[in-house]
């Protein structure tokens, strides 16, 4: 029987060091798992048992009961199933779309050169602000929009051209990541108004759109560094051979990038799966998602620990399952930064 801690190569640790590493890892694993275990155990307790004090082991310390599970899965029935399905649909759809658009954009930022001119960008923002403020002040929306567009086009031809300074690729990238700086609380009500105008309130389409827009920057940043570290020789030789960009992306870049794509997908999925505040504001009856149900267990007279534990467990199970399935891609996947060469 081989010693599991034996040294396997020149760069490997010595057996005692390996054992030490293993013990430390085990320690952190305990720190990670103990709260989860506590959640698990709490889901089998009655309110009285939770109040009475810490009981650790079912059947030894206390009598477990399926009340909380029954309550969440059966009594609440539809009120648990519907948000669950919504979470799955919204999470998967928004992550796939964000991955698609974000990866293309990331690739473009790495391989193409963009130089949007300062003047044009400034004018665009200015005209847009003008339209919004006019609308808020009471002007009819269509009129404001058209006049804003007209102002932009006219000024762009004249003044806009005069500014030679331009932004570059990294500025675009910075603009993208800066979208994540503003806390969602500030945009919650404007988003509500926006979606109300297009009659998409309480509709998962609104959530999907919002999550795509919110998570695109993350996809772009993670994939950008990944693409930048891919060996260019493959693409270059294909280009020399006459392949179009689309062909290169489809048959060369994407297959190599599957690990990175999968890893990014998982991260973005987690973000969308667990998002709370926007879902809170944009949904009411039909489009509710699971994080809302978790938070809602905070009754007016105190949190319902037992029910909340059940909800958290059923929420993380699919994500953990997916992580298990995709784990090999994660570790090979996220190559952030130019590491080769």
């Amino acid at each position: 029987m081989n010693n599991p801690f034996r040294r396997r190569s020149a760069t490997d640790l010595s057996p005692p060091a390996k054992l030490g590493a293993f013990v430390l890892l085990l320690g952190w694993a305990f720190i990670v798992l103990f709260p989860i275990y506590w959640l698990f155990v709490t889901s089998f307790k009655t309110p009285y048992q939770v109040d009475k004090g810490p009981f650790y082991i079912p059947f030894v310390d206390f009598q477990p009961t399926l009340d909380a599970w029954k309550y969440i899965l059966f009594d609440l029935g539809n009120d648990t199933i519907r948000p669950y399905i919504n979470t799955v649909i919204v999470g998967l759809t928004s992550s796939v779309i964000a991955l698609m658009f974000g990866s293309l954009a990331a690739y473009a930022l790495v391989r193409f050169t963009y130089r949007p001119r300062l003047g044009i960008v400034g004018l665009f923002i200015g005209s847009f602000a003008f339209v919004v403020i006019a609308g808020l002040a009471g002007a009819p929306l269509l009129l404001a929009a058209f006049s804003g567009l007209a102002v932009f086009l006219i000024l762009a031809q004249t003044i806009g051209r005069r500014f030679v300074r331009a932004f570059g690729n990294s500025d675009i990238a910075f603009w993208l990541i800066s979208q994540r700086i503003l806390p969602p609380i500030a945009v919650a009500v404007p988003l509500y108004v926006l979606f109300q105008q297009v009659h998409l309130l309480d509709n998962i389409a609104a959530l999907i759109l919002t999550y795509v827009a919110t998570n695109l920057p993350i996809v772009v940043w993670l994939m950008r560094d990944y693409f930048a570290s891919l060996p260019r020789e493959l693409e270059e030789s294909a280009a020399v051979d006459g392949a179009s960009v689309y062909r290169i992306v489809r048959s060369i870049v994407l297959p190599i990038s599957v690990p990175g794509l999968v890893a990014t997908f998982l991260i973005v999925l987690i973000f969308a799966w667990n998002e709370f505040l926007i879902a809170l504001v944009l949904t009411s009856a039909n489009a509710q998602t699971m994080p809302l149900q978790v938070a809602a267990q905070n009754a007016t007279r105190g949190p319902q620990w037992w029910a909340m534990s059940v909800l958290i467990i059923i929420m993380i199970t699919p994500v953990v399952a997916m992580a298990v399935a995709l784990e090999r891609y994660i570790t090979k996947g996220i190559l952030v930064g130019a590491l080769k060469g």
Partner: protein
């Protein structure tokens, strides 16, 4: 040798692809971010009025900002400002001195033009003002940090811990130890739980009267003592919860980076007699630096928005000891004071934009060039 970020000349002529690739993302983000951005600026400059016709925005100018920075809400936002102690003065004067020296050096070297120098001067003044507030709240008699300083404490404390733990765990998990694949999956779990859920979980864990740590707490003789009434212990609890939740993010990214390192260079170094520490410091660390700076940037941006942990654990208490800026905005939002909520959010935006810009231009660019 061309850098990886150089573009390929052969494709400059492939016009349509340039726009096709980038515009969907840009348009989508523009469509959903521009209006809320402008609308919330408008909100921060007005107050909400409900009348039979609907909801109106009454323009009140900079009143909300004035309240936060100088008026009634100042003690909640900036904190209670008091004359600094000797140490406080030392820190302030030290910072100003260092900044002045750096500015003079840059001016002398002639690397930067007039505009750049002016910008740096303004930046220096801002930095000094900032440190002035920090010192008056933290290193003074009777000063008390407001949500601005509290958020900084969370971000700084959190990042240090998360980076340290994440890097350490990644280094350990990349070794050929048994069960390493299991560890990787397990370590990812905290990230998969919805932040609100993590908050409630920690609330359960840290309950010293009926949580799982109660026997240990009592055994230590702390039965009648609680951490919830001490501001610094409360902040520590928030940082611990935040670290538990976000270390996996750092861990996973660094692990992937470590996995893809070229082993040959390391092997050669070790065979040549370098110690493990030397090989780490001279080979591994430089290679990890670009990754690390990206992670730190992402964690800074996300960390400034911290709200669920302090809100659920303590409601921002004791008093206002753990009230982060986003939490303050949330309390205002919840009581339908949307104008002031937006104002807090915008001050946060300005602050983080400055921090992120400085970080990117000084730290990340230098590091990426080095790599």
């Amino acid at each position: 040798m061309r850098l990886a970020t150089d573009t390929l000349g052969a494709w400059r002529s492939d016009g349509a692809a340039r726009w096709l690739f980038i515009w969907p993302a840009v348009l989508l983000i523009l469509a959903l971010s521009l209006f809320p951005l402008v609308a919330s600026i408008a909100m921060s400059l007005s107050k909400l009025v409900f009348n039979p016709g609907g909801v109106k925005l009454d323009f009140i100018g900079f009143f909300n900002y004035q309240q936060l920075l100088f008026g009634l809400e100042r003690s909640h936002f900036l904190g209670v400002l008091r004359p600094p102690t000797a140490i406080g003065w030392a820190i302030l004067i030290g910072t100003i001195a260092l900044a002045a020296v750096a500015w003079v050096r840059t001016a002398r070297s002639g690397r930067v033009g007039i505009v750049g120098l002016a910008l740096r001067l303004v930046g220096g003044v801002l930095l000094a003002g900032f440190v002035w507030i920090l010192v008056q709240t933290l290193a003074s008699e009777g000063g008390r940090p407001g949500s601005l300083v509290v958020t900084l404490i969370f971000v700084f404390g959190g990042i240090v811990l998360q980076l340290g733990l994440g890097l350490g765990l990644a280094m350990l998990a990349v070794q050929q130890v048994p069960w390493r694949r299991l560890f990787r999956i397990l370590f990812l779990i905290p990230l998969t739980i919805t932040p609100v859920g993590v908050g409630y979980m920690f609330l359960m864990m840290t309950d010293t009267s009926k949580g799982p740590l109660e026997p240990a707490w009592v055994a230590l003789g702390l039965r009648n003592f609680t951490w919830v009434t001490d501001p610094w212990l409360a902040r520590l609890a928030v940082i611990i919860g935040d670290t538990w939740q976000w270390t996996p993010f750092v861990f996973i990214v660094l692990l992937a980076a470590l996995e893809s390192l070229d082993q040959e260079v390391r092997e050669a170094a070790l065979v040549d007699g370098a110690s493990r520490w030397q090989s780490f410091r001279n080979i591994t660390m430089p290679a990890l630096l670009p990754v690390t700076t990206t992670i730190v940037l992402i964690r800074i941006i996300e960390g400034f928005k911290i709200i669920d942990m302090p809100n659920i654990l303590l409601g921002g208490g004791p008093g206002t000891a753990t009230q982060s800026m986003t939490l303050q905005a949330y309390i205002d939002w919840n009581t339908l004071n949307l104008g002031r909520s937006a104002a807090v959010a915008y001050l946060l935006l300005i602050l983080v934009s400055i921090v992120a810009t400085v970080y990117v231009s000084f730290v990340r660019r230098r590091v990426t060039e080095l790599a």
